[in-house]
Amino acid sequence: MTQIEKFSYDNKSVRNFAVATAFWGIIGMTVGLWAALQLIFPALNFATAELSFGRIRPLHTNAVIFAFVGNGIFMGVYYSLQRLLKTRMYSDLLSKIHFWGWQSIIVAAAITLPLGLTSSHEYAELLLPIDILIALIWIVFGINMFGTILKRRENHLYVAIWFYIATWVTVTVLHIGNNLVVPVSFWHSYPVFAGVQDALVQWWYGHNAVAFFLTTPYLGLMYYFLPKAAKRPVFSYRLSIIHFWALIFIYIWAGPHHLLFTSLPDWAQSLGTVFSIMLIAPSWGGMLNGLLTLRGAWDRVRNDPILKFMVVAITAYGMATFEGPMLSIKSVNAISHFTDWTIGHVHVGTLGWNGMLTFGVLYWLIPRIYNTKLYSVKLANTHFWIATLGTLFYTIPLYWAGWTQHFMWKAFVPEGYLQYGNFLETVTAILPMYGIRAVGGTIYLLGVFVMVYNLRKTIVAGSLIENEAAEAAPRVQHVKVKGEHWHRWIERKPITLLLFSTIAILIGGLVEFFPMVLVDENVPKIASVQPYTPLELEGRDLYIREGCVGCHSQMVRPFRWEVERYDIMGDAGYSKSGEFIYDRPFLWGSKRTGPDLHRVGKKYQDAWHFSHMREPTTTSPGSIMPPYPWLYENDLDVSLLPAKIRALQMLNTPYPEGYDEKALQDLEKQAAEIARGLKEESGYVDDLEKKEIIAIIAYLQRLGVDIRPAPAAVK
């Protein structure tokens, strides 16, 4: 044998990511709890724009996904990659840039999202300058990871690393694909795709952010930390191979299941459904390989909180990945979509799978890099029970709320009228469930504090081994072993593995996307649908800024009970794809905490909206919508209007040539008209036509109007 080489593992980066994981976990979950409380006590936004639900909800999702789980991924990857490849990370400098770069992205998100700087694409809310920063840091991570892989001392890549590689390439592709925009200014931009196409791209991204940010990297972590903690061999190498390739190939197709019963063409919806059903087995392959690895170690699960966390995490993964395909069946989706069932489902995955696995890894890894023992196994056990209880108290009320609300939405009396015609009734009915959910969230968060205390005590007792000494033989040319598994070949070739993964994850998206863009029949045109007026356009951008889409959908699905409720004039029907061709971005939403708005245009008078947004309870007693006083104080910023018009013209919105110069005039005219109508009654006179509220009213009054037949002339 050749001589053994001495080197060291970088534990400092691992520690940094671990601390960031815990820190952002607390921040992200606290914001989530706060948002949950605002649904019961709307006054908790303190009438401050930056703290209102519509703006902090994306702050919560971004913080827990990209800050908490993101740092958790890097912590696990930096720890396991070095040890699985028997080498130090490729570059300490890149590790440092990666760490601080990622934290600065999070800080940028925490500043911009409350300011209302958002793209409104779920989990991709951050704007172009930050998107570019994310891309750069992600590339730094990629170089650091592949550099490490290339200078490895192991011949073969372990299954955890396959998952890391697939994660890296897919997130790259998704991030670029969903952020293709035409910039208007430093912050503002319009997506290149509109309406249905934008929706398809967004949910191809959104679904696979779940798949390749919350799932595949964590499966990688499971494959390293579970056998380590259980001290058992992985159950089946063959299962690893088949479930890895099947998972990454099939996952990418499933995005359209977020758009069932919408205006997305039926064929694309069906692809989403069937590929989601096919996902059960590949997902469960991961769960089985995890749970069966514990064969012969179950007696230790009883005493070891780390194993307990991992078992519940993997079980939650199995439950969520079974429930997901069930929710992709159209008749089930008709119930779950737009209700709290979806929120409950997501939190089984995040609180159960991501949260619990992260906690397990932290408890396992911190004592090791600090060369000490966990301060208190008992406290960790306590945390385990708190976290489990919190998850149950969080999810069960939301399932209940979702079902309750759905069946209230669709209940008819025999005379043919909706039993709960007033949407608000279906909201107040579930407020008690929202209360219990907030209790569940509080319990879960409490557990995290217990963990932080325990880990803090552990850290103080030990001392960080910044550079952990290790030794291994250098890599030698592999000599083919007779009878070895055919898959061993690709495990020796990281670049080939990267290439094959890339092909596997590209196919589904391309097959679904190209027909949508190239074949006109997929989005039948409607002649009466016209571009937004300049004032409506500005109003729409305000609607996006305020995060209205977080609670209001704009998609009347083809159900009698939806058309009856929302198409109140009975002349527009359910939403058609041709209505959205000027919608950049699309605003269909994914949750109805308030009613759908796609047919709200001309339903109420301007004055109704004027009173409603100033104090929603005046028009809708008992409403949990927060007031928007700042819209009545801020002057509408029209400085970007010409640039916005030009950008939209570039994207083929048929504004007449040279309209960018005339748009302001039209905007002022329309604003003055609306303001004139309002002034007499509101007592709000000073410069009313310049206020933001006028633009939002103009936009709302436009929704769904184009498709209606012209009303019979009033005599």
């Binding site: 699985l84 299962l239 069906s270 064969r295 439950m319 079902w403 007033n422 083809p558 109140i568 109420y604």
Partner: protein, 317 residues
């Protein structure tokens, strides 16, 4: 594995709750009597019992086959029939099934399938794929062409637009049937043609509550009217008629082209009767800040004149 089994049982129970809830609510919505609902659920429970017994029978048949085969196997291994039976008593059918399900070799024989891989101390076994997992994967793959075939290449599966049309058509028939049945049962339905003014204090109070929720925003808390929004409802002048039947009709159907939306999708006929009666109880209350009279003087019994258009009203272009 116990906890895992409990979890999956719980999961299945949870998945069945929406079906129950759906049944309950649909039953209410259809206005069925309690007996029908009970009868339906008895059938449902009987169905479950039949399925459970079928499983029980199947389980015992399979267990008998397994018993015969295992004893035979022991005999071919050279044991006397008596010894074979004695050895068989050590075996467990559930253990056998579990072994078949996970597809792996037993823990004692694990070293036979231990691969030479060693990653930072992590070893891998080369166990078979669990057969039920493989079966599930094949089934889920087979589901795809069947589903696509039914919904896109056959006349069985309706697309969502067709489903919607069917749903509306079925509802129309059901509603028509309901009205016919009501008429047959001589049950009076409240309509614009037969609605009467209520005077009972409780009913008027119920109407007032609805008024405050849905009407006050445009017509004022006291019915005084709001400039640019809703008309004064406390005077004797009406644009669309001031009788109980006129008001009932206006509230139910709204006023096309104006901002008065149809409320019949929000409130049922008796509720509209209540709120209409409440509105008429406001007559002559002379609230402060009342909007000036519009329309024509309405007299009970007189034929309403042709309404005069209100200039203040916002019109749709």
């Amino acid at each position: 594995m116990k906890s895992h089994r409990i979890y999956s049982t719980l999961l299945f129970l949870m998945m069945s709750i929406p079906t129950w809830a759906a049944d309950a609510i649909v039953a209410q919505g259809d206005g069925k009597s309690g007996l029908d609902w009970t009868a339906e659920n008895i059938i449902f429970i009987l169905g479950i019992l039949v399925i459970v017994s079928a499983f029980f029978v199947l389980y015992n048949v399979l267990k008998s086959i397994w018993k015969i085969q295992t004893i035979q196997r022991f005999e071919t291994e050279g044991l006397s029939p008596k010894a074979a039976i004695a050895k068989f008593k050590q075996e467990s059918f559930l253990g056998y099934i579990y072994k078949q399900l996970d597809g792996g070799v037993s823990l004692e024989k694990e070293s036979d399938v231990l691969l030479h891989h060693d990653y930072d101390g992590i070893r891998e076994l080369d166990n078979n794929l669990p057969p039920w997992w493989v079966g599930m994967f094949y089934l889920s793959i087979a589901f795809a062409p069947i589903y696509i075939g039914i919904y896109h290449f056959s006349s069985f599966g309706l697309n969502q637009a067709e489903e919607y049309e069917q749903e509306v058509k079925e509802a129309e028939i059901a509603i028509a049937k309901f009205y016919v049945a009501q008429a047959a049962a001589k049950k009076e339905m409240i309509t614009a043609d037969n609605v009467t003014l209520l005077t009972d204090a409780d009913q008027i109070a119920a109407g007032a509550a609805i008024f405050q929720n849905s009407c006050a925003v445009c017509h004022g808390k006291l019915g005084e009217g709001v400039v640019n929004m809703g008309q004064n409802l406390t005077d004797e002048y009406w644009i669309h008629g001031g009788g109980i039947k006129d008001i009932f009709k206006t509230i139910s159907n709204g006023v096309p082209g104006k901002q008065m939306i149809p409320w019949k999708t929000t409130y049922n006929p008796s509720e509209i009767q209540e709120v209409s009666s409440f509105i008429l109880s406001l007559k002559g209350t002379n609230p402060p800040n009342a909007r000036p009279a519009e329309g024509t003087l309405y007299e009970e019994g007189g034929t309403p004149e042709v309404p005069v258009e209100n200039e203040n009203e916002v019109k749709i272009n």
